[in-house]
């Protein structure tokens, strides 16, 4: 147990160190969602968006939940990238030739990605606050947003790591990544509510786990506990199933790659 903690601590510290040395990349990952999506799109579509359809006082407050979950999505899907590079340059082999638990490398990555994601979600909610978005459920609601976000992020990071261990080249990895992330965003309630979509898109969006996460986060921000609680409960159940499937798949990919 003590040995495991020593391993996971050291490996997690490595991710933190790397991030702190890549100042530009850190800045952009932080700034991108809030600048591009929240401020830019939020204001751009302010007048095009129909308040009746959105069920929100303004588009920014509607979009806030979407941007929060999109951030979780992007961080999660990119969560395996560093392991991919480790695999390609042989660092992973070096780690695997030491007497550590095989799972420590993966756990450290989960820990790191979830910590960074949570931090980013808080920053986004902070920026939304500046634009007058006040979460209707207060601090406890924010804690629940983080919880649901982390649950979603774990599954996504698992998918990303499974891909990192399975792909032949990092070109493949980024193609699949690009292919996955945009449809997941547009086929969800991130940008428009489900009932504003064509019927067939609504059906597809129902099968997108992201929709369920957004539908839990949005009432936590917009409406309040009575509306939010059942949706949060449903999202948690769906996320547990989602995570179980993703973790099972990724552990198989990991075992196949690592022997």
């Amino acid at each position: 147990m003590r040995e495991s903690l020593q391993e996971i601590g050291a490996l997690t510290m490595r991710w933190v160190r790397r991030l702190s040395r890549e100042k530009f990349s850190m800045l952009f990952t932080l700034v991108q969602p809030m600048l591009f999506w929240l401020i830019f799109f939020g204001n751009l579509f302010q007048r095009a968006a129909d308040g009746q359809v959105m069920q929100a006082p303004n588009y920014i407050s509607f979009l806030a939940a979407g941007v929060v979950v999109m951030t979780v999505l992007n961080n999660g899907l990119a969560g395996g990238v560093d392991l991919l590079f480790d695999k390609e340059n042989g660092f992973l082999e070096r780690l695997m030739s030491t007497p550590i638990h095989r799972s420590s490398v993966i756990l450290s990555r989960f820990l790191f990605v979830m910590a960074i994601t949570s931090l980013q979600v808080l920053v986004i909610l902070g920026v939304a606050w500046l634009f007058g978005v006040r979460p209707a459920t207060g601090w406890l609601g924010i804690a629940l947003i983080l919880l649901v976000g982390v649950l979603f992020g774990v599954g996504l990071t698992a998918i990303s790591m499974a891909m990192a261990f399975s792909v032949k080249s990092h070109g493949d990895f980024f193609s699949v990544l690009g292919f996955l992330s945009l449809p997941m965003i547009f086929l969800s309630s991130a940008l428009v509510p489900l009932n504003a979509m064509p019927g067939w898109m609504q059906v597809l969006a129902m099968f997108n786990p992201m929709t369920w996460v957004i539908d839990a986060v949005r009432p936590l921000i917009l409406s309040g506990w009575t509306d939010a609680l059942p949706r949060v409960g449903l999202a948690i159940v769906i996320m547990v199933v989602f995570d179980a499937v993703c973790l099972y798949g990724s552990s198989r990919a990991f075992r196949r790659a690592m022997g």
């Binding site: 040995e3 490595r14 480790d86 340059n89 695997m96 007497p99």
Partner: protein, 325 residues
């Protein structure tokens, strides 16, 4: 411990998607020696090495490293060995010291012990002055030195090195060779793969020549060379007569004093029992075929002759002169 085996390998086989990379290898490595796996790229050296360090599971066969079975006790094996991978397995954003600190935690060293060993290793590989600079500022040779320090951090009884001087300039190569000799003097068993004949010749106490997944020959470099016996006549043909070279090779193969002939660009190497006896008939044959010789020299067998004799080809076809020194 003097001559007890550090590694025992028996009928080790690895099949990847129907392709046999390692084919029933059996050998052992004595404690305290430098053991080389010599072969061209794709011969199965790296796969063998990775089985021994428990990164790849063999399809069949068994291996014991530092007293532990690679299949049944991989954790024990990992805690007793050090590994210097072929790629510069360096995190460019971490400093040299941070690499070693990370590994110290992965080997579960207590803080004080870790600090002592890291200071000692940085001194050993002359990296103290750059220990706190990010690795992306290191030269190829410095990265290699850091790699070696990382491999030595667990204080291993067996150190595995995959192509330790691949892609290094001459000076760095010589320095790495020097470290390897010093490590052997400390009693560390070293297993290395290489496709450099001179490296195998100069550094290894014993070596296994591997080709197409099989061991073709095994012994000390001098044993292998002596075992070949005889001499090598190296002929080269004037450029205008190159088209008659194939005929010459065919004719030489029929001579009773000739053991084997291997073509090379613009000439051939002829292995003979004794150059004094064979030389007249070789010259006579060339004259008879009207094949004008540019030069002819004879030499005692070298490791590349050994390699050709056992595998039937050069270690690297594209650079026939790369290992002549």
């Amino acid at each position: 411990m003097a001559r007890s085996p550090a590694i025992e390998v028996s009928a080790l086989t690895k099949v990847f998607d129907g392709v046999t990379a390692v084919d029933h290898l059996s050998f052992h490595v004595h404690a305290g020696e430098v053991f080389g796996l010599l072969g061209p790229n794709g011969a199965g050296k790296s796969t063998t090495l990775r089985i021994l360090i428990t990164l790849v599971r063999p399809t069949s066969g068994s291996a014991t490293v530092a007293g532990a079975d690679v299949l049944r006790e991989p954790e024990k094996v990992r805690s007793r060995i050090g590994y210097v991978p072929q790629e510069r397995a360096i995190d460019r954003f971490l400093t040299g010291r941070e690499h070693l600190l990370l590994l110290a935690d992965l080997y579960h060293l207590p803080k004080v012990e870790a600090r002592r060993r890291i200071a000692e290793l940085l001194a050993l590989v002359d990296l103290e002055h750059r220990a706190d600079a990010p690795a992306k500022t290191y030269s190829g040779g410095m990265k290699r030195k850091l790699d070696i320090a990382c491999g030595l951090l667990p204080n291993p009884s067996v150190l595995f090195m995959d192509e330790p001087t691949l892609g290094l300039d001459v000076q760095s190569r010589l320095r790495i060779w020097d470290y390897i000799r010093r490590l052997r003097d400390r009693g560390i068993t070293i297993v290395m793969t290489t496709n450099y004949l001179d490296e195998a010749d100069q550094l290894c106490d014993r070596l296994a020549i591997i080709d197409a997944g099989r061991i073709k020959a095994l012994g000390s470099p001098s044993e292998l060379k002596a075992g070949l016996g005889g001499d090598t006549l190296s002929l080269s043909v004037v450029p205008a007569h190159e088209d008659s070279l194939l005929k010459l090779i065919a004719a030489l193969k029929d001579l009773s004093s000739v053991r084997a002939v291997n073509a090379k660009p613009r000439g051939c190497d002829v292995r003979v029992e004794s150059s004094e006896k064979a030389l007249p008939s070789v010259l006579e044959t060339a004259n008879r075929l009207g094949c004008q010789l540019d030069s002819i020299e004879y030499r005692r067998p070298r490791l590349d002759d050994v390699f050709i004799a056992y595998t039937g080809h050069r270690i690297r076809e594209e650079f026939p002169a790369a290992d002549q020194e």
